[in-house]
Symmetry: none
Subunit: 399 residues, 2 copies
């Protein structure tokens, strides 16, 4: 179905939708149980018993979603239609505010000799040195030919650079030879429209080398993952929603901002997030709540810690339910099994809490129980239609 159809059916009402994302919550069994199955979740289990569930594919069967596409799908956008480049994701991740004018790239401080790159990470310089170097560059190169340059330090040798100006284009091949022993490589335009941007970028690299000429080991930079800030219609335009995001990590706040959500200030725990929800309940009709640590501990292979985060969410649920949202969806952007210590392609549990559902026979918050859920299995991007429908925010299609 073309997404414009959903837009044409959307209608503004007072009903409220909460999308609670337990990042990477789906897992794989260790000793017979997934993290979800090992967790003690009386509140979730009760919701499952009384409501309806299913499984979603973040992109499609077998495809592992990154955080960007995983969240775009949850927000109702086809992640294969709207791509978020690596540079943009990195910029959002360090908390940089981006504008539609911006082209972002990931940077490495690196070491070169007269002819070649000899260390692509400049010996992993301390973050403190990184910050000093970024400050120096910022002072020396505030802009190039009217294009504003914004440099933001990351951990160790990593940084992010934004180029902000009219008519920039992100279709640019990396300024990075990818391996040591090769000569430095300048950026290259992948399309004629990007030639002007490439000139700016390569001027930047040359100027940086001047600034760093007396530094060691960080005497040059590599830039990769060039990407323009994507032009994505907002959730307000697309679904007539007034959405707000409750998330602690910069990348997820950035992803929410990409689709036009208002970012609410919040604390670090799930309980803090629920408090934030309560405080802003009247002002919005769609709330995205992001729980990060299920994913972080999955990535660490920390099974028991991931279980504990699931239990923390379970304990916070009564607070959320006391607000009586018209629609509550509890799901994930992708799976992150502790067994794999990485994102995975396994489908996500999707629990829909609402009064207009046909209850199914599932009684337990569990990936394998959800196989039998009444909603079946579907692409994550279709979840928004279910949320809108059950909130009575969609008109009939045709007469």
């Amino acid at each position: 179905m073309h997404p414009d159809i959903l837009t044409s059916l959307a209608t503004k009402t007072d009903s409220k939708i909460v999308l609670l994302v337990m990042d990477g919550v789906g897992g794989l069994p260790i000793n017979g149980k997934t993290e979800i199955e090992a967790a003690n979740t009386p509140n979730l289990d009760r919701l499952v018993e009384e409501n309806v569930c299913g499984l979603t594919d973040s992109i499609a069967r077998g495809i592992t979603a990154g955080s960007g596409p995983g969240h775009l799908g949850l927000f109702g956008y086809d992640p294969t239609e709207y791509e978020i480049g690596r540079g943009v994701l990195e910029a959002l991740g360090v908390g940089l505010e981006m504008t539609p004018l911006d082209v972002a790239a990931r940077g490495n401080f690196a070491t070169r000799d007269a002819t070649s790159i000899i260390d692509r990470r400049a010996g992993r310089i301390p973050t403190e040195i990184n910050r000093e170097l970024c400050a120096k560059i910022t002072e020396a190169i505030p802009e190039i030919d009217g294009v504003k340059v914004i440099v933001h330090s990351g951990m160790e040798h990593r940084f992010v650079v934004l180029f902000r100006g009219e008519g920039l284009d992100g279709r640019i091949a990396d300024a990075d030879p990818q391996q040591v022993g090769l000569p430095p490589k300048l950026a290259e335009a992948l399309t004629p429209e990007a030639e002007h941007t490439v000139e700016i970028v390569n001027t930047f690299v040359r100027k940086v080398e001047e600034v760093l000429k007396d530094e060691h080991p960080a005497n040059t930079v590599l830039l990769r993952g060039f990407a323009k800030y994507p032009d994505i219609p907002s959730m307000e335009e697309r679904f007539l929603l007034t959405p707000a995001a409750i998330a602690t990590y910069p990348m997820y706040r950035g992803l929410a901002k990409l689709v036009g959500m208002t970012l609410l200030d919040t604390g670090k725990t799930v309980a803090d997030e629920m408090e934030t929800l309560k405080n802003h309940w009247d002002a919005y009709d769609f709330f995205f709540i992001h729980v990060k640590k299920t994913d972080s501990y999955g990535e660490d292979g920390a099974f028991e810690k991931k279980v504990a985060v699931i239990e923390e969410v379970d304990k916070a649920l009564p607070d959320l339910l006391s607000l009586a949202p018209d629609v509550l969806v509890i799901t994930a952007d992708h799976s992150t099994p502790s067994l794999l210590k990485s994102h995975s392609w396994h489908p996500n549990p999707f629990l829909l809490v609402n009064k207009y559902i046909r209850p199914d026979e599932v009684t337990r918050f569990s990936e394998r129980a959800f196989v039998h859920g009444g909603l079946g299995r579907f692409p994550a991007k279709d979840g928004i239609a279910l949320m809108l429908a059950h909130a009575l925010k969609l008109k009939k299609f045709g007469a």
Copy 2:
């Protein structure tokens, strides 16, 4: 899959398909049971036990289908590809015979003063007055510039008008200011191709005001929902079927005619419809039988009456089965839960009775049991391929 593929595989045989549509039969639980679950349906249950079932989405998850798109899907047409405009549906609903030349619109008798519309419904004039006014208009305005004008009264202030002539275009904005206190608004072309039609339409409105100038309160008309009769390939062209429709309500007869079905005269009860089926059994290879009252009582919120209609269908089944159709499908165009008193987005039960099926483990005619059906969950428009296949009316794809 492109619909042409199905056409290329279709083959003419003697086998017979019956598509029994219980309009809006799917529901939501009240006191723990849906209407289907509350009904005593021994015949349906036996069929479910011995055959195979699943669930269909009329359009897509979360999307509520109107009657037009709901039926187009059942007939094997993508409802997002072939749209039936509001005016056309209304014309079919009052039983007007349309031709491919026709543009239809819904009309209201209304009240105006010298400058503004002051009542959009002319005080809801009695239907009897409406009929008199329509007769007057018909007599006074039989045609405009060679375009035939056909006016048909509806209930209270409502009527339908058809404009029949070469080269008409339905892409026209309403001749209706939408609220009282505003000046009358003439129709406007949404595309240059519709300018000629708009002249005819606005001439009609002016002439009607002349005819009605001494009437009160109905002294003008508002027209909206302009739509051209859609150009849809027939089921004969598309699937090599010779289809007939057994339906009592004009709108559904009109929808069947849109895809080239022969309309059979029938009585008002389900038993009458079965009798009609028996009488025409030899002449067609595809029968669409429409049961309206499941939907009507759903719209009324009349749970028990909807239950009774389901039981009435159940009782009529042995008559149908005595004809030994090669394929019998029992399904719906959309759900109409009594709880919502309206169409809804919840999926439809789909029961397939045939000798070449793999029986599943479902034993009860019930929405939540059908979640576990052997056919899984699929878009309603794909049902035609299942019907054709099980009737051995489809060749192999490729060698």
